[in-house]
Symmetry: D2
Subunit: 307 residues, 4 copies
């Protein structure tokens, strides 16, 4: 299997202006390594993020960009996630000011004192679980916090989820699933990173179980197929991730795009609206990033009319 090394610096933005670290053929299986969102700087429970990260610059280093051969604007890039393996035997989470779903932050400004900081280190135990203590112990359920192609017009912070993917923090971006991303520039300029060993819905305090990891991917191109927001396919479900604020706008995007996807399978738009009303699922992937991500999903059986 081809292992692609990150040459040069990691990027902290999804940026089409960077030199690709590799050119990849559709159909090829490749291996990447990803850093954790803190660049590995938060290593022990006495490390306060505000201290060890002070002066460290941007967060959330990305591996990439990969140039996908043959990718052109208007195509869709299908990314099959074959495996995610830990690159180390510990993961870290923390309360980091000013970040989190239950604290003021840069965009929801308030006058209160920030929450105190706290760091939790989880070590992988003999059962493979990541364990801090007898209560805070979780199985290895890894996924890619970020996965993106580059925007044609913009360079976007690696902290942001957007139309071509980005920092969605959706636990469904996991091994066994396929993520579909719109291609806006020639070569797609694929980035990934921010692996989470485990994360609940919403990524409530802003920091999941952050870990460096080895990621195995396979790309396919769907030529001349234009989608507007990231789609995810699992063995049994179709999903769309919408990212916006307020949260209801993220939900509207996710469900509206899922209706569009169902229409591709022959559904009348209003009947698809009806079907999702009775059988859709809608969960929050993140309520902490620069914009929020909501995931709408439907069973393939219903969406694909396998009656």
């Amino acid at each position: 299997m081809r292992v692609i090394e990150q040459t040069g610096e990691h990027s902290f933005a999804f940026n089409r202006y960077l030199e690709p670290i590799a050119r990849v053929q559709p159909g090829e299986e490749i291996v990447l390594h990803t850093e954790d969102c803190f660049k590995g700087l938060v290593k022990s429970e006495t490390d306060l993020p505000s201290e060890v990260l002070s002066g460290a610059g941007y967060l959330n280093p990305q591996t990439g960009p990969l140039y996908i051969e043959g990718a052109e604007p208007g195509d869709t890039l299908a990314v099959q996630i074959l495996a995610i393996e830990p690159d180390r035997d510990w993961a870290v989470s923390c309360i980091q000011k000013p970040l989190g779903g239950l604290t003021p932050n840069k965009f929801t400004r308030m006058l209160n004192e920030p929450l105190g900081e706290k760091t939790w280190i989880y070590r992988q135990d003999e059962n493979g679980n990541f364990t801090h203590d007898r209560y805070l112990s979780f199985p290895w359920e890894p996924f890619l916090g970020t996965i993106a192609t580059a925007s044609a017009l913009e360079v976007i912070s690696a902290l942001t989820p957007y139309e071509q993917g980005g920092n969605m923090d959706s636990p469904d971006v996991c091994p066994g699933n396929i993520v579909y991303l719109p291609v806006e520039v020639e070569g797609a300029y694929f980035f990934t990173g921010d692996v989470h060993a485990k994360q609940g819905q919403g990524e409530l305090c802003g920091v999941a179980l952050e870990i460096a990891a080895k990621v195995t991917l396979k790309f396919e191109l769907i030529k001349h197929k234009k989608i507007r927001w990231p789609r995810i396919e699992s063995p049994t479900e179709l999903m769309v991730v919408g990212s916006a604020k307020p949260m209801e706008d993220a939900a509207r995007i996710a469900y509206a795009e899922l209706i569009d996807w169902m229409v591709e399978y022959g559904w009348d738009r209003l009947d698809a609206y009806q079907a999702l009303t009775q059988d859709g699922k809608l969960y929050c992937a993140n309520m902490v990033d620069t914009v929020y991500s909501m995931v709408a999903k439907v069973s393939k059986k219903l969406a694909q009319r396998d009656a």
Copy 2:
């Protein structure tokens, strides 16, 4: 089993000023019948809601109020949902202007023409499913769209979810679960109604599979225990329903209250915040009512520290 009949008119608000239809002892099992949200007026696919409901007044008739003996402000009412059975062999859904998650409405005002109306009638088939056609066919997964105690200060429309429950439209208000509601007035003044044969997360078009039903409940009082928002307990999970706009405020309420619940089991607040970050779930119950409802949940195993 004691069957309580709705004497007099159904209420279209959660209203402490009404005469109770019955007085119920804690521990007693009772049976109620509920109307559908349209008062049974939308009966066929040629019934356009704007026509058959024109001049019909308010929607979402409630069964109640029940006076719960011994209930006092500051108590919590535990409602065990023992059974929900259909009172008829069909359910109805429709696109009704101006309602729905993907259309302007009374509170999200726009200048566009409303969506066209459409009515779907689902009939219960031999397998117990509610079926409109070969694709739109769903199992019987009933729940109570509304469940509430009365506010002390306000009278609240039956279309609204709020701190004492109301129109939360959460599929987890279902048989086998217990709903905990704050008591604000003597006797609690319990209301329920709006049974849904089936509904997806978000109740996207605004109308689930609406049906009249027979509901079996059992009440318990938890004296001198004050909660602030509705809680739900399933055999395996603890949940809180937050209702607010924008949707992120509903999410914040749900998770903040779930932390408070975990603190009752001995959790440190920041550790509970951490635990929910890695293992909480957060779905949308409704994105169509006067305010939105989000449900945060955690496994009992984690919350109750059954390590």
Copy 3:
């Protein structure tokens, strides 16, 4: 001039179930007295709201209800504000937990410690200004924080702004202006209170210069004229107050209703949309109440086509 005394308790909700304190004829000028929002309990700078209000029950006492003779559902009540005079020589403001635009609160829940409390007493000086110190000194620019008719279906907290008025906290509800309110119940059930000696746009910390006052009003009925949200007319401008969350929904309501008002003067809807785009004004009245209020305004000259 007829002075109407508050008989019995002040109400802390806009409540159609109460006994009217007086019956008033359209055209009649009347005088009312209003309490401050704290019921006069916060009287000195050493009074911490959390202490002096502890156990004091609800806030924002309302004067009323007045029964307006001849008012029927579907009418509009025009309230001319003739005068507001101070009933005492001091006003009070404070930081009161958990209230304010820059602090978490009941509906925007966070884990941070609350802001500290602080009370400011302003005394009326020889120039008529309300003065705390050489910097915090403001002219007497009084208005009615609350003004409402009762809802037909609901009883609504005096802390809430809504379709029939309520706690809008708009500085344009001031002497010289006319406020138009929808009538939903026979007799209208008019309430007012919460006079502010002065308030900026947004009522940022949640508490304006609160004062007891003497209010002179005159009512007129516009029969068979249905409006949906409160309107305000000044000598030179037309305004609509929209109240909702998120704040953009309040803005949408205010502008959409202002378009409707312009259509009554002969405007085409899209041309009115265009006119407001180029010459409308849109300010925030409150960003602290249970829902936010936005005021859209346009010059009478433009709206009434006095070309």
Copy 4:
């Protein structure tokens, strides 16, 4: 006066990767010309935006970047707006799908049919007014819709307002005022454009009176002074522009930063909070862009403690 020509293409993003069109000394007065947001393509009332703009690529062409000599990260750039003069005798507005405050759009997705398109051409008459008909006629009150320095990390669409300025659409960015922008990259990389002959608060339909213009500016550098969001100074007022969604987050940013500004003049933070509560102003600049802009303002007399 030095006239700087746009060499090469206009940019449709605030982009630090571009070659500066000129290097400018602090203190120098310069003249720029700006295109209208439609690149001049919408020229008559029979031009439907969807037709004449189809295939035209991005909108909102920017003049720049200017390299400001001596500007370094951590400085503040003060831009004095000396004059804005029309470059032609007509301006254009239109309803353009899918844009506008009272219509679904890319981020507030709905299923309804879009609003119809309509174009209004305004011609400058002998009084200097821009006139469409006897009612739609407005004075020349020009301002810069966009004004920005480049972000260090991101490239940002010219349709977006953000921390370094951008598409704020605030009528206070007008001749006579000074706009203060954070500097994030060496040389600042200044952009401007999108002149509006007139615009109301909110830019309701999404398109003001768009016009090509001649703009006279003077730059000053405030070394080693770091601000976080754009500030505006008029002869009598201090203002901050916050841009975010939902709209209340934009309001929070604007007022929180205005408090910070007042603290620079010696105010205690809570006293500044109090002062703005009683005498601040808060209007909506835009409710149509990718995020909304709110402007908080206070009189210099109060803020600067000229008691």
